[in-house]
């Protein structure tokens, strides 16, 4: 029989053992050490700043700062989700706006049915409970990612990019033609979903909700990236042939990563629908997919916080340049080109370079 029991397999210890090996095992560094401590410090400082931001904004009488930061946080979640597929797994998806849009529409459609009192498909009653709508958004976008991923991951390279793009555009046109839910004009969510004990209509409160979600989300991503799954995923990006030849069925791992990635974008979409109190087919447009990709690459693909930095830079530049001139893309384009040309690791790369220099 070609099968062997698991016990035999895990007991497959090396056959040559000598003193060198014992020494090597004893002296090997299992832990990672100092770099982690520095990163943790930076994260805590950033977190302290984010927690105090609404109070700073109130003191400065600049309430737009809070809404700006909320937008950044939501896009940080979406970009970091895409990064799991793109930056870590090497799956260049050009259709992730589909999951972002699905998340948004789940909130919009459930709200519409909540207001009208009619059940969706005759058996799903509408709701305005944030916990339920967010969970539904994650679930539905995850299912869509499983379907799209199962088909598109049969291909790779340029074909994969094109197929993911095609799926997203199909959904875009579906929602454009879905006049029951606003079609081209989109859906208005008159009041944000509610969360027991909190006033979600207050921008600062909603900001803190998004911050809490983002903290949990990034903590999960941090664990995933370092887990056995994450290491396998990074290996697949580097050399899929190698991974297959050590016994890793790469397709399954890529599909699971794609689904998690879609779920994260769905969550971000649900938050966005609540934040903007509006969903429209623009959320699933290919330009939105492109913006998410730019955030990831601008910030540093494959890193934990790079996509968040990319989202922040993109949205701050977009907002400030748009206030200054309507031809803001004229300025934004060259900035992106310069960063990508001169800093291969994106913003995250710039920061680590500075830190490296500071440490000598």
């Amino acid at each position: 029989m070609a099968e062997r029991t698991m016990a035999e397999r895990t007991m497959a210890e090396p056959t040559v053992v000598d003193q060198n090996i014992a020494e090597a095992v004893a002296s090997a560094k299992i832990g990672i050490g100092g770099r982690d401590a520095v990163q943790l410090g930076l994260v805590l400082i950033a977190l302290a700043f984010l927690v105090s931001l609404p109070f700073i904004a109130r003191a400065l009488d600049a309430s737009t700062l809070v809404t700006l930061a909320t937008r950044i946080m939501i896009f940080a979640i979406a970009a970091a989700s895409l990064n799991l597929a793109l930056g870590i797994g090497g799956m260049v998806s050009f259709g992730h706006a589909a999951f972002f849009g699905i998340g948004g529409y789940v909130v919009g459609i459930l709200y519409r049915h909540f207001v009208s009192g009619e059940a969706l498909f005759g058996f799903i009653s509408g709701t305005n409970q944030l916990v339920i709508t967010a969970a539904a958004a994650i679930l539905v976008s995850g299912l869509a990612a499983a379907l799209f991923g199962a088909l598109s991951l049969r291909t790779s390279g340029v074909q994969f990019i094109m197929i993911t793009l095609a799926f997203a555009q199909m959904l875009f046109f579906l929602f454009v033609s879905l006049t029951a839910y606003g079609g081209d004009d989109g859906l208005i969510v008159r009041r944000r979903n509610v969360l027991p004990g909190l006033d979600t209509r207050d921008d600062a409160t909603f900001y803190f909700i998004c911050l809490a979600v983002a903290v949990i989300f990034f903590a999960l991503l941090h664990r995933i990236m370092r887990s056995r799954f994450g290491v396998v995923l990074g290996g697949i990006r580097q050399n899929e042939r190698r991974m297959a030849s050590i016994g890793i069925p790469t397709y399954s791992y890529k599909l699971v990563a794609f689904v998690i990635s879609g779920m994260g974008c769905g969550l971000a979409g649900a938050l966005m629908a609540n934040f903007a109190r509006f969903v429209s087919p623009d959320m699933l447009h290919w330009m939105q997919s492109g913006e998410l990709m730019i955030m990831v690459i601008l910030g540093g693909a494959g890193t934990l916080f790079g996509p968040a930095l990319g989202a922040a830079l993109w949205i701050i530049l977009e907002t400030s340049l748009a206030a200054w001139t309507e031809h803001w893309q004229f300025v934004l384009g060259p900035v992106i080109i310069l960063i990508i040309l001169f800093f291969r690791g994106g913003l995250h790369g710039i920061l680590t370079t500075i830190r490296g220099n500071a440490h000598g």
Partner: protein, 249 residues
């Protein structure tokens, strides 16, 4: 004679008009080193790719411990005991040597749908991986990124990764290719240390290595096995001398 661990029967692979495997039949018994030699383009790497399931043969069967593995994916074959090294090294360049090997240990230890604990802090994985690195003579380079290893070290890492996959049969695709004399000697010594413990199919051009290690030699020319036997009979075989050995002397 007991049934061979790996047996290949009537394997045919065509690329258009070119026959890369022309009714190849050979076997590898438990603990045996079976060397496969032949000039460039004889179809040696193509044969290994078919054994690993990266290429589908047009005809013929491959049996592993008696079971036909035709329908198995590359990953399933690896999981069932076939491991290969690549002639052109296929390593995870951004990961350290240790990571490269630990991943193979991890793949062996069951599925990797584990999302929570830090893989690099798993002592069983790391310790087994370091032992395999040491086995291939690379323990001192555990923390070096694969991209920064010298060519000879990359070959050693290929071997360490294959060993970590805990194979029953090791398919070695030119482990000496591009190595200097010192590195070659070291690789021969490492493989000699494994001899008898592990069945090996050794594809190699380096005749010193082949005659130092092989229990049996098969000669592949234009996709066809023209001779097979113990090292002495191959050395004496006139057809082999003209087809192959003669050219290199």
């Amino acid at each position: 004679m007991a049934e061979a661990l790996l047996s290949i029967d009537g394997l045919v692979k065509r690329f258009g008009g070119l026959i890369a495997s022309d009714h190849v039949s050979l076997d590898v018994s438990a603990g045996e080193v079976h060397a496969l030699i032949g000039p460039n383009g004889a179809g040696k790497t193509t044969l290994i790719s078919q054994l690993m399931g990266e290429l589908a043969p047009d005809a013929g069967t491959i049996r592993l411990a008696g079971a036909d593995i035709a329908g198995m994916s590359t990953a399933a074959r690896a999981y069932n005991g076939l491991a290969r090294t690549f002639q052109i090294t296929q390593l995870l360049d951004e990961y350290s040597s240790l990571d490269n090997v630990a991943l193979a240990v991890q793949a062996r230890a069951g599925h990797s749908f584990r999302f929570w604990s830090d893989a690099r802090r798993s002592e069983p994985l790391r310790k087994t991986a370091i032992a395999h690195l040491a086995q291939a003579g690379l323990a001192a380079r555990a923390d070096v990124r694969a991209a920064n290893l010298a060519h000879g070290e990359r070959k050693q890492l290929e071997l360490a990764v294959a060993l970590a996959a805990a194979p029953r049969i090791l398919l070695l695709d030119e482990p000496m290719a591009g190595l200097g004399i010192g590195d070659s000697q070291q690789m021969i010594e490492i493989l000699r240390g494994l001899k008898g413990k592990l069945a090996m199919l050794l594809v190699e051009h380096d005749m010193d290595a082949v005659f130092a290690l092989a229990d049996r030699i098969s000669v592949l020319v234009y996709g066809r096995v023209i001779a097979s036997g113990d090292p002495e009979s191959i050395r004496a075989n006139a057809e082999v001398r003209t087809a192959y050995l003669g050219e290199s002397e």
